[in-house]
Amino acid sequence: MALLQIAEPGQSAAPHQHRLAVGIDLGTTNSLVAAVRSGVADTLADETGRHALASVVRFTQEGVQVGVEAERYSAQDPLNTVVSVKRFMGRSLDDIQAQDQSLPYQFSASTNGLPLFNTAGGQHNPIQISAEILRPLVERAEKTLGGTLEGVVITVPAYFDDAQRQGTKDAAGLLGVKVLRLLNEPTAAAIAYGLDSGQEGMIAIYDLGGGTFDISILRLNKGVFEVMATGGDSALGGDDFDHALAQHLQEHWQLSSLTAQERRALLIESRRVKEALTEDDSTLAHLQLADGRQLQQTVTKAQFDTLIEPFVKKTIASCRRALRDAGIKADEVLETVMVGGSTRVPLVRQRVAEFFGRPPLTSIDPDRVVAIGAAIQADILVGNKPDSDLLLLDVLPLSLGIETMGGLVEKVVSRNTTIPVARAQEFTTFKDGQTAMAFHVVQGERELVADCRSLARFTLKGIPPMAAGAAHIRVTFQVDADGLLSVTAMEKSSGVQVTIQVKPSFGLTDEEIGSMLKDSMAHAKEDIERRMAAEQQVEAARVLESLSAALAKDSDLLSAEEANAIEQGMAHLVQTAAQGDADAIEKAIEALDNASQTFAAKRMDNSIRLALKGQSVDNI
């Protein structure tokens, strides 16, 4: 028999219990996991003392290899060894192949155009492959910290669009890990630096990773990090430096065609040369061909700088735009923070210093600063620091719009709007008796649908039949704190809530995620049902706990009738949760949610009043 936990009403059972949560930097080239232990945030090492996990996954008939073991095979077994999978996240196969034809993989397309990597270990999409990278990190954290994680904060480039963010979150979902927040990488870096140095003012974060570039302008004030503007390029990074150098060498050596192995070996050598040139003024590049020929060539720093200059210039142009969006000038920036391994390249540091007129901050390891910041945020979100003042206000990186007549985009929410955000638009029917309406949501800054990224298509169904133009359909686009979109719609005159089926253009549907979850579990159907019931029971406990606490504090906001309805709903939920039927628990939670909706809203408004209390309406 389990022992009863005894606690005062309204208090949690173990007030001083430290909840386990980590920050994960799911990077293009390397991934890291970090945690706050005894008040200090740091990255966690594996058994061999290594912190960074190479973001490389190899699928063979024997199973899955991740990290350095997989990386070892990347040159000899490129077909089955996926590197830089982050660059494929949330993209269609068409997109990917249009951008780079020289990829050493065999692809097929899923029904909605997602790329599938055909490997000796089966077909895998980028979300599944990302989950394989997350898995050892989560295991490492649970082993090091000695318990099950209650949640994780995963970082994403600020410039990631909705499909890329959703894909990242789904990858964690496949492992059954709760994502407390998707955190923008630059914001994470600012947290790591901000708490150390206690800055107040404008900060620029220049983040050049393997495959992505982000620039963010943040205002720090009394613990609040407010993103003023963000920009960048989700397909620009240090990998481009490697490719440029590889292409240069290939042309110099007059190699018209390369095997997949040779191409991979050339890329690896190019990366080594790039890294050597951060210290030395010149270095020797080698390549062994399949026919046994040995090639070599001296590469100078000046040559390398010329090759990468166009990429660096592009990043500086993004910086200029971001400053303008933030409404400030370069000399108003107090500090510049450097993030990402590619900021070790001397030309990059030099150009950034020139543009902002001051040497950038580099005191925290640019490869680990993001994971460290994410760990600090995870520790706060999971509830270990209730008195923390830290708050992150992020912005939408790319405008959201809908397709209108003629393939044009009508903007619904413009970029750099602080999130969460909700915008309502009204639409009407153009035919008598029309009961459905189709929408196409896109993300991007261009005026033509064809130039933007397709996010989702959805159909509004169940519009009550009326004369053309008589129905007023109010569609609300809401973006949450993770930057993820949801859509609700309502016909105004009849009050009919319209159902929406969202079909993500380059992501997974709920059904697909469900079936992938089942695939990922080697066990029988009962196991899945048991797990779903357990998840609902956790949510039920959460609902009951927060409602009890709310009632203890704010019951005076309720009429006797409302209080009665809530108490009945709670009693019903307690009873249902004990029986362990997932569907029934979900329904009971929903019923209680409905009964307590007004109460929840009243409490929130009450706390708003309290927050501004004593600050009576000012007179100017």
């Binding site: 969460p420 955000v421 909700a422 809401q478 704190a481 927060s546 706390s607 927050a611 501004l612 600050q615």
Partner: protein, 173 residues
């Protein structure tokens, strides 16, 4: 929704922006979804909705044009979906002149100088309009409010010009 009430500020055009930013931070600390990371789904949902309102309110009150529009809408004049245009010919002539100057940036010998000049003229003109706005938009007289609406339309023209100037500046790099 009256955003001045939400931020507990008196409904004037010449707003104390530092105070507005402070109230915004206080509200965010209360309603932001991150404060509800461990709460029930319902609390999270409400937190997202309220934070969206607070963000919208802050954005509206922060920007002079949106703030003026909001003040008018609270007095029953809605400009958000209107199609009325400015009829002041002198103003329109000035606009055309400025547009020609914008076009000239690409071809002229000293674009930086021209850009600087335009920045100054735009700022001066905006200041003129803003000086009149405060009194008109705060008035209860219907004619004064309609005049304020006209000023808002002019400010929108100026905002567009300012955007185009920034784009012309970008094109130089």
């Amino acid at each position: 929704m009256n955003y001045f009430e939400l931020f507990s500020l008196s409904p004037v055009y010449d707003l104390d922006t530092a105070l507005l930013a402070e109230r915004y931070r206080d509200l965010q600390r209360t309603v932001h979804p991150d404060k509800f990371a461990n709460a029930s789904e319902q609390d999270k949902r409400i937190a997202v909705q309220r934070t969206a309102q607070v963000n919208d309110g802050y954005n509206t009150l922060k920007h002079p044009i949106l703030r003026a529009e909001h003040m008018l809408s609270l007095k029953g004049i809605d400009l958000s979906h209107e199609s009325t245009t400015v009829k002041d010919t002198q103003f329109l002539m000035q606009q055309m002149e400025w547009r020609e100057s914008l076009e000239a940036i690409k071809h002229c010998d000293d674009p930086d100088k021209l850009i600087d000049q335009l920045h100054h003229s735009f700022a001066d003109y905006r200041e003129q309009i803003t000086a009149q706005m405060s009194q008109l938009v705060g008035s209860d007289d219907q004619q004064a409010l309609l005049d304020a609406a006209d000023l808002i339309r002019k400010l929108k023209f100026m905002a567009k010009l300012q955007d185009e100037l920034a784009r012309a500046e970008d094109a130089l790099f």
